[in-house]
Symmetry: C2
């Protein structure tokens, strides 16, 4: 039943017609990126996804990782697959060529990540972390640290981890207690970290732990946190692997999903202290870690896209093959029907398809903004797009992952009774997806980050700039010749207006009642997510219209895309109206609710 068909056509369409090669080529270092090259890359990664990763997905779920005497073993076949995919350079697409990376845009790395994740999300986690660690080290490590670690991480020889959470310090990272005491040119680290993805495994010869800790006398909270490189095996002067550091995996968690990804409890410094090397300055570690986290947050959104596509593929194939009931044939006579022909199943599949394509566009566009923020020749543009990435990161992370769960849920439902049987594989997407709104900052934290740091802090400047651009697009769109979609443009315009009003409301409230802003944050994030996705979907319909006239692309794809855009706008955007009503009228009463109201 497990099927895999990465959405190569759709990815290729979005990169070509929504992002545009001319725009990618205008960025420094990306002048050589061509559609031919990208299409080969998508096809090749699609093959790996279908042939190497898909067959391992259920094995990983069924057998999971094992932990024995401190050793973690990944499920059969995973280590070999890691080596095979890594040897093709697939994990270092957007890393710096100076350290052995491919020097390609994040846009392409995101495309490939989705393709891999659509068949095996658990497999992708260690490469995801490496990619994010490369961002961190490139931005904050010393040159000698870069020389030691970057080539080995980029080559996939060494893996990395992110060590933030402690049993009492989750969303509140500032409460962490792990200690770092200076000892010559390094620090001695002691403490316990939990939920460490890939804290121990058998993929690589070394694991580079990036650990947040406190030096003696450091200020309380977020401002007293420092970041350390803590290798599993120390590195000798001659760059060879040296002795084992004073750290160990204590246990691995039994999780709801992503069984093939080991989630470790880590102990540092049982025997006097693990050796760690400061990255950046003391007490500035959290900002450094955020470089890694922000990249990881985008990647988690991309995981959502992958899961959504995987769940959609499987549900569609099931609906295409499952006979139940009848439909009239051309002459009105009843004949046995595939369930895909029944209106309610068609609706469910269209919900899956349209939501999936919307979050894909969101993830690719955000990645493109990241590329602009790094490589645009004009510094103002870089700053502007850097702010846009900041604005969109919590949307990609939270909106895409929530939608992924919903999409996987519909996938189960389309399977009927079979969806509840683990053998079908439909439920694995749902279970695997469920981590994505939790890790790298819960979706609630994303919403609060969005409203407090990305909207209120700059008084909505960055968002209003985006709204302006959308409005300009809408204006151009409404002036298209032969515009068949003026009603669709109107729908998006209504949402944009709602978004503007909601933003003003939020900014006003921020001066009055910060609690209200926090309780409204999630609703606001959903308004923004729907609207940005609607804009990106509308742009696609516009491109399709032009391409249909030009007759240079498969008309079936274009017509199907237009139907999908229509479905998205007509079924998703009404929610924005409802959310505005909640935002404006639902908040005040919540402030009157207290702890004891929940105990009656």
């Amino acid at each position: 039943m497990q099927t895999n068909a990465p959405a190569i056509n759709d990815i290729s369409f979005i990169i070509r017609h929504i992002i545009g090669y001319e725009n990618l080529n205008a960025l420094e270092g990306y002048t050589d990126v061509t559609s031919d090259m990208v299409d080969v890359m998508l096809a090749e990664s699609g093959k790996i996804s279908s042939e190497v990763l898909a067959p391992l997905n259920k094995i990983g779920d069924n057998l999971g990782c094992t932990f024995e005497n401190g050793v973690v073993r990944t499920p059969p076949g995973f280590k070999e697959a890691y080596e095979q995919v890594n040897s093709g350079g697939w994990f270092s697409l957007n890393s710096d060529t100076d350290y052995g990376g491919q020097g390609l845009p994040l846009t392409l790395s995101t495309a490939v990540q989705e393709i891999f994740d659509s068949s095996n999300m658990a497999f992708g986690l260690i490469p995801l972390l490496s990619n994010s660690a490369v961002e961190l080290l490139s931005a904050h490590a010393s040159n000698s640290q870069k020389d030691i670690y970057l080539p080995n991480i980029i080559s996939g020889k060494w893996a990395t981890t992110m060590n933030l959470t402690e049993p009492h310090a989750g969303s509140d990272v500032g409460a962490l207690r792990t200690k770092a005491v200076k000892d010559g040119n390094h620090y001695k680290i002691t403490g316990e970290k939990i939920y460490i993805t890939g804290g121990e495994h058998d993929y690589t010869e070394n694991i580079i732990h990036l650990v947040l800790a406190r030096t003696p006398g450091a200020p309380q909270g977020n401002k007293g946190i420092s970041l350390f490189i803590v290798p599993k095996f120390l590195i000798n002067e001659d760059s060879t692997i040296g002795q084992k550091n004073d750290l160990r995996c204590v246990s691995i968690e039994q999780k709801l999903g992503i069984h093939a990804s080991p989630t470790c409890v880590m102990a540092y410094g049982d025997n006097g202290g693990a050796i760690g090397y400061l990255v950046g300055k003391e007490n500035e570690g959290l900002a450094c870690m955020f470089t890694m986290m922000n990249m990881a947050r985008i990647c988690v959104g991309v995981q959502g896209v992958g899961i959504a596509q995987g769940a959609y593929n499987q549900a569609r194939d099931y609906a295409n093959n499952r006979v139940q009931g009848t439909r009239p044939d051309a002459k009105g006579k009843k004949r046995p029907a595939m369930i895909i022909e029944h209106p309610d199943v068609k609706r469910m599949l269209m919900d899956m398809k349209s939501k999936t394509e919307s979050i894909r566009a969101l993830a690719l566009y955000t990645s493109y903004c990241f590329d602009v923020s790094k490589r645009h020749p004009i510094s103002e543009k870089r700053i502007q797009f850097s702010e846009r990435v900041s604005l969109l990161t919590p949307i990609v992370k939270a909106w895409a992952t929530d939608k992924a769960i919903k999409i996987a849920d519909i996938g189960i439902q389309i399977h009927g009774g079979m969806g509840y049987i683990e053998e079908s594989g439909a439920s694995q997407y749902w279970r695997d997806a469920r981590i994505t709104p939790i890790y790298e900052g819960t979706n609630g934290i994303q919403a609060i980050d969005l409203v407090n740091r990305k909207i209120v802090r700059d008084n909505g400047k960055s968002l209003f700039l985006l709204i302006e651009e959308i409005e300009e697009n809408l204006y151009n769109f409404s002036n298209l010749e032969n515009n068949k979609f003026s009603d669709l443009g109107k729908l998006v315009r209504e949402s944009v207006n709602t978004l503007s009003r909601s933003t003003v409301f939020l900014l006003n409230q921020a001066g009055i009642d910060l609690d209200l802003v926090e309780s409204a944050a999630r609703v606001f994030l959903d308004i923004l997510g729907s609207t940005v996705c609607a804009w990106l979907m509308l742009l696609q319909a516009g491109s399709c219209e032009k391409l249909l006239i030009a007759k240079n692309l498969d008309p079936l794809f274009l017509e199907s895309k237009i139907k999908t855009v229509k479905h998205f706008l007509k079924w998703q955007l009404p929610e924005v109206l409802a959310l505005e009503k909640i935002l404006l009228e639902g908040q005040n009463d919540l402030s009157l609710v207290s702890k004891k109201d929940f105990d009656v």
Copy 2:
């Protein structure tokens, strides 16, 4: 972390103030039902839920059922718990006293079912089926069949199953192929049935399978199906247990959840044919089975309520104990905070609480309607309420179960990282709940049943009668003295208006395009579900207002209930506006979508 606190206060409040003892006592046979008796019953069942069933919930999930040499063993402790709870008469509350039942209203049985399911949903399935089978046999079996089977099923000595599904016949029951050939005073049954809950287990000395099959030459489809009693062990003339029938459990399924409930593949007639006894007439079996199914559908909705309450209990307790971040104290100084104090967590908990209380009211009210339909002294009332039960059954089944999953999902999210660790138990509610929108007719089937059989068939008569009653209540409500909630009444009135418009739209479309009606069915069900629940919630706020003035009930409960009603109406009802927009504008395009649109 696993906690249990059944919602006894809320159940007691709804029975007393929304249903009313005077109304229950007006029904034949229920004159003796008093609040004292019911409150003792709720307290006692609450004790069983917390002390007997809750401790088994995780054991059941972890160990599941085992299958070896045709024998199914339920998880350790389950058989003993079945015997203990059964011996208290808890599984036969609403069964006929003539056959050993307690002769109580379904309303009370529903209350107790929720209380049990809130701590262990998987445990409740075999009693749920017995209850539903008693309905079937009471309505359709011959007197001698009743004499043989009812006392033993009602006493819990024998269990029952529902055998509809075959590998190629799920939602399309009419496609089933199991054969029944007449052989003297019985039939010989041969065929395979799947997804048979409790098809084999160790709880009872006998299992009475209720099996749909086709006699030779029977008409095709639904009109050629007959219903048979097929006991695991045949019954001797002297009522003792006789020889094993020709049937067996082939295997049990590995499922996403409810691991403690064996889901069996059953083979009938490997050795010439299992002996079966016709219930009712040949070819009229599906209608008989619907008597069982309709009861089971209400009970599945109640499972949703139970899961919702269980998930809420656990999330609330976690939020009450988990320290993260700070909140200002009375003097504005920061102090460590429980996460329940953070606005976004408060919002999530209030979403859980308000949705849970809304589906509880819906389930209890529908059960009360069932009681009226059976026991009201005036036959017109019985008929009217029988139609109302038909109308509300798909709403209880589909709306309550969808909400249950959403509530369990929020429960996971409140736990943060801990929610993804199976040990926490938060994810078990979510996994267990996921079957409820699938079995006893998928929620898509419920929606189609609602619009085709319950709305279009009687031209909306039964629904408009309900709408009239709601409008009358709203009118009375707006005339209450000192009415503090006129804004709430207005919200419900808007929803009722939307519901009326949507019903008219649907009835008009039914004459034009049946496909459109089917693709709109799910949206319509959600409009109706939200509106009926909003009405039942508003009535509660009204009662609270009166009771606060009368000062004869805990004001904390009443004030918290009013806040909960407000939250429900303000956060749930805006969705109705969005759904109407989808209903009116989203459908036409879907009819243009074809199979090939999903393959591009």
